[in-house]
């Protein structure tokens, strides 16, 4: 049962009806039931068993670690043991089903996402970060709430998704906002992402037959494909949750307006980045071992730069995990991990030099044009990394780049000529893609500007008159139905991050 399918929407409506029919105190029952049924149909019997096991384990471990029995220092060793077991189980499950996979079976649905939530939850429970009494319903739902099974978000008990456990009153605006978000996500996915996919698949299938211009173009088409795919998926997830009155954390915050790569990663797949920062990078840096390492470095190379080796080492660990998490192969470890680390470290090492250039050339940095320059530069770095993400393997990615540097003009591929049809889209598709892209760009600019003021696009839409609002909705619905790429030959059902 994919997120964009008739079945999912029928299922969602049925769940909503049951949810709002039940008395408010037991509405969570509908969520638990829906989540179990959803997993059974979408993830099969194995997926259901694995999820159910971790939901039960999560509740048990969290309650045990929070219990009075472990409250003092007296049994801290035993508590530590419980914590270690609670962390080894998900790590073992991930390695077994996903990264090593000795039995050759398909990984149970969603484990790369909900087990991250699980491990963070265990850590919070162990450290006493959760002050309130842990509710079994809340604990079960942050792990297994069905909209999050496709691609997250990764949530934190008591920090975000805080209203997941209580029943919510029926509220027209929640339903409306939920439908808006789902519609917008479907627009991104079916109209933009699926068209980009055609271009990307065509070019990546035979990179040696295309010119450098087309090869570079395809890389940016993939960036757009991935963004509209993943963020479109998140729009549907957040929108579906919203219809139950539940607020899930956002995973994207207009990432392409970022001025540098680090900022990009704070605005792209936000909940994964936050997870790594809170549960990997900080603990590593804060550990006794690293503190000693830092002290030693400070004594050797001075106070100013003495912190850097420890910092870079901890970043190396985090970025390697980010890359590995995506699928374990070198193309991810390099393309989503080390490449970005290299850019960040190089950027920092060279910053005195760049600062000097800016001073000599008297470049003003506090204006829109410089911001655009920085965003384009960031986009370029992101494109290079993601070109490996898309390639079949790391070495195929290298070959792709060899083609970029050696395929000059002789292959098909002058942009702005009839060669453009060799990318797999006809004129109508290309025009639809361009128009949809402009709409996305405009909405993103409004989102970015509004975020600074604390307002939103939907807030703006809510203030318009009924006729205008419904015109927008109807245009969007028709656009998705008419221009969406679905049906035979298209696998719109599949989201890229669903595979992780």
């Amino acid at each position: 049962m994919a997120l964009i399918s008739t079945w999912f929407f029928v299922f969602l409506i049925a769940s909503l009806i049951i949810y709002y029919i039940l008395p408010i105190k037991i509405r969570y029952v509908a969520l638990c039931l829906s989540s179990a049924v959803y997993m059974y149909f979408a993830g099969g019997i194995l997926g259901t068993i694995v999820l159910a096991s971790f939901v039960i384990l999560g509740i048990l471990f969290a309650k045990i670690m929070q219990s009075q029995f472990f409250s003092g220092e007296a049994r801290s060793g035993l508590k530590r043991l419980v914590y270690i077991i609670s962390m080894l189980l998900p790590v073992a499950a991930l390695l077994l089903f996903k990264y090593i996979n000795p039995f050759g079976i398909e990984a149970p649905m969603g484990i790369a996402f909900y087990l991250m939530t699980f491990m963070g939850f265990m850590t919070d429970a162990y450290q006493g970060a959760i002050r309130e009494k842990i509710s079994p319903v809340g604990a079960g739902l942050i792990i297994g709430f069905f909209p999050m099974m496709t691609s997250g978000p990764i949530v934190r008990y008591g920090e975000n998704a805080t209203n997941i456990k209580e029943g919510h009153k029926f509220c027209y605006i929640n339903i409306l906002h939920g439908i808006q978000r789902i519609l917008w996500g479907t627009f991104k996915k079916l109209i933009i992402s699926e068209r980009c996919a055609v271009i990307v698949n065509t070019v990546y299938a035979a990179p040696d037959t295309f010119s450098s211009a087309f090869l570079v173009f395809a890389i940016f088409a993939f960036v757009l494909q991935l963004y509209t795919d993943f963020s479109g998926c998140m729009d549907i997830v957040v929108g579906a949750a919203e219809m139950f009155g539940i607020k899930l954390p956002e995973n994207f915050d207009t990432p392409f307006f970022s001025r540098n790569v680090s900022e990009f990663w704070r605005r792209w797949h936000i909940t994964l980045g936050a997870w790594l920062k809170d549960y990997v990078m900080y603990p590593v840096l804060h550990s006794e071992l690293f503190r000693k390492f830092k002290k030693a470095c400070k004594n050797k190379i001075g106070k100013k730069h003495g912190e850097k080796p420890a910092l870079y080492l901890s970043m190396f660990i985090s970025w390697t995990i980010i890359g590995y998490w995506h699928g374990g192969s070198l193309k991810y470890i390099f393309g989503v991990g080390w490449w970005f680390l290299a850019i960040i470290v190089l950027g920092e090492l060279l910053s005195p030099f760049f600062g000097w250039i800016k001073r000599v050339l008297k470049i003003r940095t506090n204006n829109t044009s410089y911001h655009i320059f920085e965003s384009l530069r960031t986009l370029m770095f992101v494109g290079v990394g993601l070109s490996f993400f898309r390639a079949a393997s790391f070495s195929v990615g290298i070959d792709y780049w060899k083609c970029i540097f050696t395929n000059a003009q002789n292959q098909k591929g002058m942009l702005f000529s009839n060669d453009i049809y060799s990318l797999g889209l006809d004129l109508q598709d290309i025009l639809v893609l361009i128009v949809a892209f402009i709409i996305l760009l405009l909405v993103s600019i409004i989102q970015y500007k509004n975020a600074k003021k604390g307002t939103s696009v939907r807030g703006w839409l809510d203030q318009q008159n009924l006729v205008f609002r419904w015109t927008v909705y109807i245009i969007l619905i028709f656009a998705v139905v008419i221009f969406g790429k679905y049906g035979q030959g298209y696998n719109a059902a599949d989201f890229i991050y669903q595979g992780f």
Binding site: Q127, G128, H286
Partner: protein, 79 residues
């Protein structure tokens, strides 16, 4: 040590870590208010404060504190 004295010491740590003499933080200051207070600088700052007061923050406090006031609460509790 009074709360004001703790705040004064915290301020001098901030100035040293961010290498800017004009920085002054108060109870309500958050990371968003101080230029350069990002996730990497945060850990440097935490450790400089730990050295200054000869105490340790717990891991969940490192990631959980919302403003300088909460930082002062923890310091006051532990020195």
């Amino acid at each position: 040590m009074s709360r004001q004295e703790i705040l004064d010491s915290v301020n001098s740590v901030f100035r040293e870590v961010f290498d800017r003499d004009e920085i002054t933080v108060n109870e309500e200051t958050t990371a968003a208010d101080v230029e350069g207070w990002d996730s990497l600088r945060h850990i440097t700052l935490i450790e400089a404060i730990e050295d200054e007061f000869d105490m340790r923050f717990k891991m969940n406090e490192v990631t959980g504190m919302k403003n300088v006031g909460e930082m002062l609460d923890i310091i006051a509790e532990r020195i």
